[in-house]
Subunit: 425 residues, 2 copies
């Protein structure tokens, strides 16, 4: 079936879901959890077939790691479904209401977005994670996953359909689309049939979606995040924050990619932080000033880490989202230069200042234009779970509709309900 027809069916199914109670939607999630448990064997077997094909095709190791969905990971996915069921209902928001001088009663009422499209890559867990968040918020979802995960996604989709069927809801509420390029194109062209498209994956996928889609897109995830060590920083705290922001999970968008450090404290700070980063396996791309300090202070570690561990940064490094154990390092003259650097190279994701100076912190927090700005904390906290949202569908780096971690509330919109007794204008 073509994607437009699937989208039309999703729309019709969504209207049915919208009229259900929160309890009915939670029961559907529980039924999906049970169906995933019941079909765990088939799902893991389908995933093994995907993995075998991926290995045969010589896909890169990190991609194969993301593709893997063994019993342990599937159990985690199922726990996630039940955790979403337990979250507060995002539609249960008291409407804003007011009365106009002409007697019209206007209410602003929370409603689902409608039909949500997700375009993603190899991780099959996204199929379920994204679907249950959409369903919980009253939306239908169209899932366009990667070709390499086609068997896994199909098996997961069948299980979700079985769960929906069990509670008497239409299976078209959560549809796994064909994993072809054509399906993605059709999805991006389905304006008015699909209300929003959320791409999740690498920068290439996101850019292509933004450029090609006629459906409104929420741009997610590109993060060239900075940690700025101000001259008034507690240097030990700064070192821990930089290490954490870079190393705790370098493959994710809220990891730091560039370290900025004030000239006044560059020598003592880099003398401590440099060797610590190198010891953690981080390669450094440094401006000339930082390079000189690092080469002087980190010589023994350098010898161990090999010649590529500290290298001069090029212009490309300032704009790079390494998503890897690599960090650009730049010495700056102070807050102004740090702000200008972030304004130029940042992607509006997460930016941190480390300082004991409240005035400098305040100026940084007010001036930096990003989804999340931090004072004395790691950029790694930009995350739905860490923010207390329970779960997230992605991290928005645009300013329309949602910014930063998007939880259930961001999968809803509103409409105006206007009650009159014959008013005309």
């Amino acid at each position: 079936m073509d994607v437009r027809s699937m989208a039309r069916q999703a729309r019709a199914a969504q209207r049915q879901l919208e009229l259900t109670s929160p309890e009915e939607r939670n029961a559907a999630l529980e039924a999906i959890a049970r169906a995933l448990e019941a079909r765990a064997g088939q799902i893991v077997a389908a995933n093994r077939a995907d993995l075998a094909a991926a290995e045969e095709a010589g896909l890169p190791g990190p991609m194969i790691a993301r593709l893997r969905l063994d019993e342990g990971k599937l159990a985690g996915v199922i726990r996630g479904v039940r955790a979403v069921a337990e979250l507060p209902d995002p539609l249960a928001v008291e409407p804003q209401a007011w009365i106009r001088p002409n007697g019209l009663r206007i209410q602003r009422v929370r409603v689902p977005l409608g039909v949500v499209g997700i375009i993603y890559e190899s991780r099959p867990g996204v199929t379920v994670d994204a679907a249950v968040l959409c369903l919980k918020a009253g939306n239908a979802v169209l899932l366009k996953g990667g070709k390499e995960a086609a068997r896994s996604n199909a098996a997961l989709g069948e299980a979700m359909a079985a769960g929906l069927q069990e509670v008497g809801l239409p299976v078209e509420l959560a549809q796994v689309l064909p994993s072809t390029r054509e399906a993605a194109q059709e999805l991006m062209a389905a304006r008015s049939l699909v209300d929003v498209l959320i791409p999740r994956g690498g920068a290439g996928l996101i850019r292509a979606t933004v450029e090609q889609s006629q459906v409104p897109v929420i741009e997610t995830g590109t993060g060239v995040c900075h940690v700025y060590v101000h001259r008034a920083a507690d240097l030990a705290m700064a070192r821990e924050i930089v290490l954490n922001a870079k190393c705790s999970n370098p493959a994710v968008c809220n990891a730091a990619e560039t370290l900025l450090v004030d000239r006044e404290v560059a020598a003592p700070f880099l003398a401590e932080a440099g060797p610590a980063l190198l010891a953690a396996g981080v390669r450094l791309r440094a401006c000339p000033e930082a390079l000189a300090i690092l080469q002087e202070t980190a010589r023994p570690d350098l010898a161990g880490a090999g010649p590529a561990a500290v290298e001069p940064a090029t212009e490309e490094d300032w704009a790079a989202e390494y998503l890897d154990l690599c960090l650009a390092v730049k010495v700056v003259s102070g807050l102004d230069e740090a702000l200008a650097h972030i304004a130029r190279y940042g992607t509006g994701h997460s930016e941190a200042i480390v300082t004991g100076d409240a005035g400098a912190a305040d100026r940084f927090l007010r001036s930096v234009d990003a989804a999340a700005v931090y004072h004395n904390a790691s950029t790694r906290f930009t995350d739905g779970g860490e923010f207390g949202f329970g779960a997230e569908i992605g991290i928005s780096t645009q300013k329309l509709h949602a910014r930063g971690p998007m939880g259930l509330a961001e999968l809803t919109t509103y409409k105006y309900v206007v009650l009159g007794n014959g008013q005309v204008r």
Copy 2:
């Protein structure tokens, strides 16, 4: 200067505006109002030159009417500037704040969108209306008006620049772009330099912007709005609502384009409403059943109104946004058919039911997926002023970010400010 450079300057200017107080922004608006008054002669003269060129080029009458900016209209624009200055500050919203178990303090803080692009057609008043709303909310604005209004817009832009200069703010906060197609293309390609694009004008302009823009767009204004007369309607009230929704300003997006009427009351209702609509100069495009009733009951009026006044509707009529004294009329079997018709042909703008049956009203209001749904009132109230927002920048027909009339609040977004004392993850 090219649009990208202008956008970069707008971004830098916006950062400066963001740090001003509400009082400073209001003072800038007052200075703009004074500068418009001081240059009223030049502005009206520039508009007369535009009008002369438009008449010579043989532009259609309604376009010339929209283009006109005489002293009276300009005075209205200036009053509008001062009215916006008096509205509450949209950035003065108490931040949501919470503390996480690890001690992180998270605040969700209201901030301007940043750089807003407006693409519009002949009405030069939009240049000022849109600019002052953007400035009030702390944004810079790039204004791409129609070629036919180029002289008027340039004169208005110079006045706004003079006002900004007077209060020491950068003139790049409100820039009138060249009125060329290339400028529009460059604006739509300026992703990351421009935060949002709002097209205002006809369906063609809006469709082109949505299809071509890589900057996030808020779709505005296409309105195929329905009035549905339910069998339990007060027919006199229904007649007044239909007449008002169609005739009070047929050129705007919240005017009704289709009348749906329950079979049970079609004969008595159309026997009254048909002649009233025809007497008001409305042409009717009717389904066979409605046609029969109208031809029977409205014969004397028909004779006077000419043969084209009542015609059979074609499939195109159900999807038509006439923006004119023309109304499609369809008899339906009841609420279900009305809902299905609106789901199929509506554009998600404004939809009204007239009924005395609370259950039918409730089902209509919950089921119809539109920015504004009405019970016993005219669709013409979907308007920022009528909703009590003071002013509006447009009416969104999409679901992301803003829906329905967009006031000052919709020209803002938020960011997360996270305060720690060394937290790592």
